[in-house]
């Protein structure tokens, strides 16, 4: 790190006397757990949580804005349910891990001398980027799952690009600290004496105790929130923003008809489904209901992490497309009655459009769709994010 020394900047080995107070006082941090080994162990767990959140976040992004090379798949049907549930769970688990990690390395904020070289300054800057990005990602994610946006930027884009910045800074941090991480994880100095395992202070909290406490904190956070995505854990779903069985017809919703401003148009008796393609046609709701009906047991899984299985009944997309004479491998555009919003129209790649499980659903759990679930007709396709399961459908266009 001493490759580029700061020219003519001489920093004393110790802070000047008037500064030696508070965190800059010698021995201000007396726990022996602010060490390499604790930092490496907690940091590894935190790194795994961030890597998991990053990968599942990329998957979610690609499912919503697929690049041409991305291998879209409609199986397993619970694919998105799994990846997005994991995304939110790993982000929540990262909260106690980040708190523990920052506690461990907090004394280093006051390391003296504060800067020894240009490279050292850059390294500290990258740590600042890493910490601010990590805190930003966790806070914005936490507020997004309760649909709370008290800021002026777009959540999706900012959360996404800051994930690249944060994970980039994390990889840089791992590269810079590699020798210390290796020493910490093997609990052995490369050449030199063994690092003391004991905390060295009688009556101090041991490292094992601290790691156990961190593990319990992760477990507590996970146990009280995972029930929103894993239905069998619903009975201990105490702090998740969703109850997977709470909502009209026992299924939560992401956007109400009132929010989407479709109450009047969706209830209009003159509603028609129009399907455009080589042989365009329109159908009334009763004509749709007279077509062969199929049942698909598919999960609805939201970007906010909650998900639940449901029985949907309706007309198969493949049947609607066959009737319009759509060529094989057609992509489909689904248009909703919503007049605004990012998901008023959605694209359905052929892998979902051709799937026999994909429905234009008219009923949920044996009852006609409630207005908030997309009455008169909505899309339900396997392994797709909930925001793309377009509600209040008015038109299907073969592209």
């Amino acid at each position: 790190m001493g490759l580029v020394n700061l020219p003519r900047l001489r920093i004393p080995d110790k802070p000047p006397t008037w500064m030696r107070r508070g965190p800059l006082r010698e021995g201000a941090f007396h726990s022996a757990l602010h060490d390499e080994r604790t930092a490496s162990l907690v940091g590894t767990a935190l790194g795994v949580a961030f890597a998991t959140a990053f990968v599942t976040g990329l998957i979610s992004h690609e499912l919503q804005h697929p690049a041409s090379w991305w291998p879209l798949t409609s199986r397993p049907v619970w694919f998105y349910r799994f990846t997005q549930g994991l995304h939110v769970a790993s982000g929540l688990a990262a909260i106690p891990l980040l708190l523990a990690k920052l506690w461990t390395v907090y004394p280093r904020l006051f390391a003296w001398p504060p800067i020894t070289s240009v490279l050292h300054a850059l390294e500290r800057l990258s740590i600042f980027v890493l910490i601010s990005g990590a805190i930003f990602e966790l806070i914005t994610g936490l507020l997004n799952i309760v649909q709370w946006y008290p800021w002026r930027f777009s959540f999706t884009g900012t959360h996404y690009w800051l994930a690249w910045i944060t994970v980039g800074a994390l990889l840089l941090h791992i590269a810079v600290k590699a020798p210390a991480i290796a020493r910490g994880l093997s609990n052995r100095a490369a050449e030199g004496p063994r690092i003391e395992i004991e905390t060295g202070r009688r009556g101090a909290v041991s490292r094992r105790a601290m790691l156990t406490v961190t593990g319990i904190a992760v477990g507590a956070v996970t146990a009280t929130t995972l029930g929103q995505s894993v239905t069998s854990l619903r009975s201990i779903d105490l702090l998740a923003p969703r109850d997977p069985t709470f909502g009209p017809q026992g299924v939560p919703i992401n956007r109400t008809a009132a929010e989407a401003q479709v109450e009047a148009t969706a209830m209009d008796p003159d509603w028609r489904l129009s399907v455009t393609g080589p042989r365009p046609y329109t159908l009334t709701l009763s004509e749709l209901a007279a077509l062969p009906q199929y049942t698909s047991n598919l999960p609805i899984a939201c970007v906010e992490g909650w998900s639940v299985n449901a029985a949907w009944q309706g007309v198969r997309m493949v049947d609607l497309l066959e009737r319009v004479g759509a060529p094989a491998g057609s992509q489909v555009r689904v248009v909703s009655l919503e007049r605004s919003g990012a998901y008023a129209t959605t694209l359905m790649p052929h892998v979902y459009a051709q799937d026999p499980l994909t429905l234009l659903a008219l009923r949920l759990h044996g009852q006609p769709l409630s207005l908030d679930h997309g009455y008169p007709a909505r899309i339900i396709a396997p392994a797709r994010p909930g925001v793309l399961q377009t509600k209040w459908v008015s038109r299907i266009e073969v592209l």
Binding site: P23, L92, I95, P96, L99, A100, L102, W103, Y106, S126, I131, S132, G133, I135, F136, I139, L142, I145, V146, Q147, W148, W151, R152, F153, S154, G157, T158, W161, L162, W164, I165, G168, A169, L171, L172, H173, I174, A175, A178, G203, V205, A209, V213, I216, A217, A220, V221, T224, L238, L239, A240, P241, R242, D243, G247, P248, P252, N254, T256, E259
Partner: protein, 191 residues
């Protein structure tokens, strides 16, 4: 060692590339999609200030106070309550603050103040039990050690007594042998 260095350089380079890619999109390429950079900057800086200048000093101050009045066992339990309880409060706070405000009634449908209280009480019970279990374990260990010491002392005493008896016996034997020799001598002299 050279492979490790190459690997390290590689990881660092990938990190810098990802960081640059994200920053380029955030500040320039996708700026329209993201929104005003000063709004993002405020939240980025705000998070660090919230932790480094408010939360962490409070925690370290609390630790310094607790340090003077507690032993390791209580400290361990307090650390558990602080980290796990603090994390639970953090994840429950948005639920509590947003309850009733959302136009979508299926968001935050639970009684979060009650549920948070339940989880904190359970956590407190676990912490108290861990202190009690620690105390019990220590007492048991002390008792076992004392028992072991007592047994050891007893065994030593027994060994000592046996050795003494042995010695006394040997001494008596020696004495009687000496007596016998004298008597034999006497007999011989008499003879």
């Amino acid at each position: 060692m050279r492979a490790a260095t190459a690997m390290r350089t590689c990881v660092g380079a990938v990190g810098v590339a990802m960081l640059g890619f994200g920053a380029w999109n955030l500040l320039w390429h996708q700026r329209a999609q993201v929104g005003p950079p000063d709004a993002v900057g405020k939240w980025l800086l705000g998070g660090v200030i919230l932790h480094d200048a408010i939360l962490a000093p409070l925690v370290f101050l609390a630790c310094a106070v607790v340090w003077r009045h507690t032993g390791a066992r209580v400290r361990r339990a307090l650390a558990l309550f602080l980290l796990a309880g603090g994390s639970l409060v953090i994840i429950a706070l948005p639920d509590i603050l947003r309850s009733g405000d959302n136009p979508n009634p299926t968001v935050t449908p639970l009684d979060y103040p009650r549920n948070l209280t339940i989880t904190l009480v359970v956590l407190a019970i676990v912490a108290v039990l861990s202190v009690a279990a620690g105390a019990g374990r220590d007492r048991y260990r002390r008792w076992r050690q004392e028992a072991r010491l007592r047994a050891q002392a007893k065994a030593e005493a027994k060994a000592k007594a046996e050795a003494e008896a042995e010695a006394a016996k040997a001494k008596a034997q020696a004495q009687s042998d000496a007596q016998a020799t004298i008597e034999e001598k006497g007999v011989a002299e008499d003879g």
